[in-house]
């Protein structure tokens, strides 16, 4: 039986998620043994066009060319997996959706001369806004274990087990001192999906929310707590909820200032 063909494709993003695929390290050779890596620009120069059995797609869609490529890819791919926050929820590139063009011009002196800007959409959206997505691997970047779990699921034809409960679960089970309750710091853990192993709180940093909303995120309650307990302003709260997953239904209200 021929090995399933895998493609790793990039749209608008920082390439950190594909990097994470390479970080599978000790399992990478097993992976290469189990699948035919047909397209992976970061890893090989022998890239082939589809059809593919599985495609891991990183990045959000910000240009007409990307949109065309994504639609073609969808047609040539059995299982299309959104890899990371940009692909799942827009992540950092999607912040542009709330920023008026004149604001961007303040940051970039010759804004209109930026090549990608000339041909790009006004708004940036995740893959699911344009095509059917079979699985979303969230995180900035997704944890390597989740990538493996997804690939295992794809190879076996079973539903992968991905965490949807909040970071607080992983954090508490590690017996970290709660940064929000005990130190009054603005942690996004209670509304953020787990899977990272509570990486930031375990190192004394608040959760930034990079896995996006957990299965039943109560964003309005947390926003109220962060305002009351940690003294966050309306602008602070908008930033917190907009940063990684402001386009998601669970965070959209808080990401737009509660309206």
């Amino acid at each position: 039986m021929a090995k399933p063909k895998l493609a790793v494709v990039k749209m608008t993003g920082c390439a950190g998620c594909q990097m994470e695929v390479l970080r599978i390290e000790d399992k990478l050779l097993d992976l290469v043994g189990a699948v035919d890596v047909a397209y992976f620009y970061m890893a090989t120069s022998a890239n082939r066009h589809g059809p593919y059995d599985v495609a891991l797609v990183e990045g959000s869609v910000s240009t007409p060319r990307e949109l065309r490529e994504l639609k073609e890819l969808r047609e040539r791919t059995k299982l299309l997996i959104a890899l990371g926050d940009c692909a799942c929820s827009g992540c950092l590139p999607s912040i542009v959706n709330w920023v008026p063009p004149q604001e961007s011009a303040k940051v970039y002196e010759r804004f209109l001369e930026i090549h990608s800007k000339k041909e790009s959409f006004q708004r940036v959206y995740p893959l699911s806004a344009h095509v059917r997505v079979d699985l979303e691997l969230r995180g900035c970047p997704p944890h390597r274990d989740a990538i493996l779990e997804a690939l295992k699921g794809a190879l076996l034809g079973i539903k992968p087990f991905l965490r949807e409960h909040p970071v607080c679960v992983e954090c508490k089970l590690k017996e970290n001192v709660c940064l929000l309750v005990c130190e009054g710091r603005p942690c996004m853990g209670p509304v953020t999906a787990a899977g990272c192993g509570a990486a930031c709180p375990s190192n004394g940093r608040v959760c930034e929310g990079c896995y996006g909303p957990m299965s039943d995120a109560n964003a309005s309650s947390l926003a109220e707590i962060l305002a009351k307990r940690c003294g966050l302003s309306r602008e602070d709260l908008i930033g917190k909820f907009r940063k990684y997953a402001g386009l998601t239904p669970a965070f959209s209200k808080e990401a737009s200032g509660g309206i």
Binding site: K152, L155, E164, C168, C178, V181, C182, E183, S215, S221
Partner: protein, 343 residues
């Protein structure tokens, strides 16, 4: 059972002797909080601790535990338990009573757990009378403190310059034989009684247990639950810090490449959406209100209800106060009871 009075500066020597026989786990300071952690000497422990982030059940029901490994061709291998005798030093009365409640589930229940039984058997317990309950404690209301009536091997009570050490088992007798100390007098026992009375005067939170099962069953549709559901973050902190919550999930994890894997179990929490999800996405408690009602109801109410008889009519809650202390949303089950009573 016998006892001894141990001078505080002899405690280190006692712990050191015990450490030759047992791996000792005691309350250790971590930032603003405490955790039960392995210690090698009395100095590493803070016996004036308030409470720990995770309850001692973590030693008996690990947060994640391999049940067995399997090969795709059919081989199954159970993990070997190599751990020797261990000792939990300074367990408070609430947490000790929590273990006695868990015993009803995992030793005396319909489906006893061999691994729980092994761990309980090999773990000695040195309990500590609580002389300074925290602002969130209400063990007195639950009948689980501030000093335990039994279930310990040794019970320590702080008498000022000395500890009254009472043994509660044969193992406790053997342990106390290692301690340097003087005989117990009537004045020492009186000192203990006074310390307990003094502790009781410090409780700020109380729960009235009168007719509590009926109270909860009568109030299943009380608007209080909807209001709590709006506040509730469903973060799972209350359940994971609870000393008597015992729910777990069982899963298979395949290796890569897929020649085998492990079946493991890990703590689960009824306040999480996934907990009551079944095939095809059905969910018995989709609303947060229903889930927080389940957590609080199971802890305080419906102990007598037919489907929750695991504690033989007793309340599951031991009043340790962790779920109050660590709730980011400020949900306080003692206040919820008052609201249900219309106080």
């Amino acid at each position: 059972m016998g006892g001894k009075v141990i001078a505080k500066d002899s405690l280190g020597e006692f712990v050191s002797k015990l450490s030759e026989r047992y791996r000792i786990f005691g309350p250790r300071k971590k930032g603003t909080e405490w955790i039960f952690d392995e210690v090698r000497s009395a100095e590493e422990m803070d016996l004036r601790y308030s409470t720990t982030i995770l309850p001692p059940r973590k030693f008996f029901i690990p947060t994640s535990e391999r049940i067995f490994s399997f090969k795709m061709d059919g081989g199954v291998e159970e993990p070997e338990e190599r751990d020797g005798p261990s000792l939990i030093f300074g367990i408070h009365s609430c947490d000790l009573n929590a273990l006695l409640l868990l015993d009803m589930v995992f030793l005396e229940g319909e489906f006893p757990s061999p691994s729980y039984a092994r761990r309980r058997e090999r773990t000695a317990l040195v309990a500590l009378t609580c002389i300074d309950p925290s602002e969130n404690c209400f063990c007195e209301s639950m009948g689980t403190g501030p000093s335990p009536a039994g279930g310990y091997d040794v019970l320590l009570t702080d008498l000022g310059r000395e500890y009254l050490a009472e043994s509660g088992s044969r193992r406790g007798e053997e342990m106390l034989a290692l301690a340097k100390g003087r005989a117990v007098t009537a004045a020492d026992l009186e000192g203990k009684a006074k310390a307990i009375e003094c502790a009781k005067s410090k409780f700020k939170k109380k729960v009235d247990l009168k007719g509590i099962d009926e109270l909860f069953l009568r109030n299943l549709d009380n608007p209080v639950w909807k209001r709590l559901g709006e506040k509730d973050l469903a973060c799972g902190i209350c359940v994971n810090s609870c000393p008597t919550c015992f729910c777990f999930d069982v899963r298979d994890q395949l290796d890569f490449p897929m020649v085998g894997g492990v079946r493991y179990k890990e703590w689960d929490a009824c306040v999480l959406l996934e907990f009551s999800q079944v095939a095809l996405g059905g969910n018995f408690r989709r609303d947060r209100a229903a889930r927080i009602r389940q957590f609080i109801g199971h802890n305080l109410g419906w102990g007598g209800a037919s489907q929750f008889r695991e504690f033989k009519g007793r309340a599951k809650c031991v009043g340790c106060g962790r779920c109050i202390r660590y709730c980011p949303a400020g949900i306080d089950l003692t206040e919820v009871v008052k609201e249900l009573r219309g106080i």
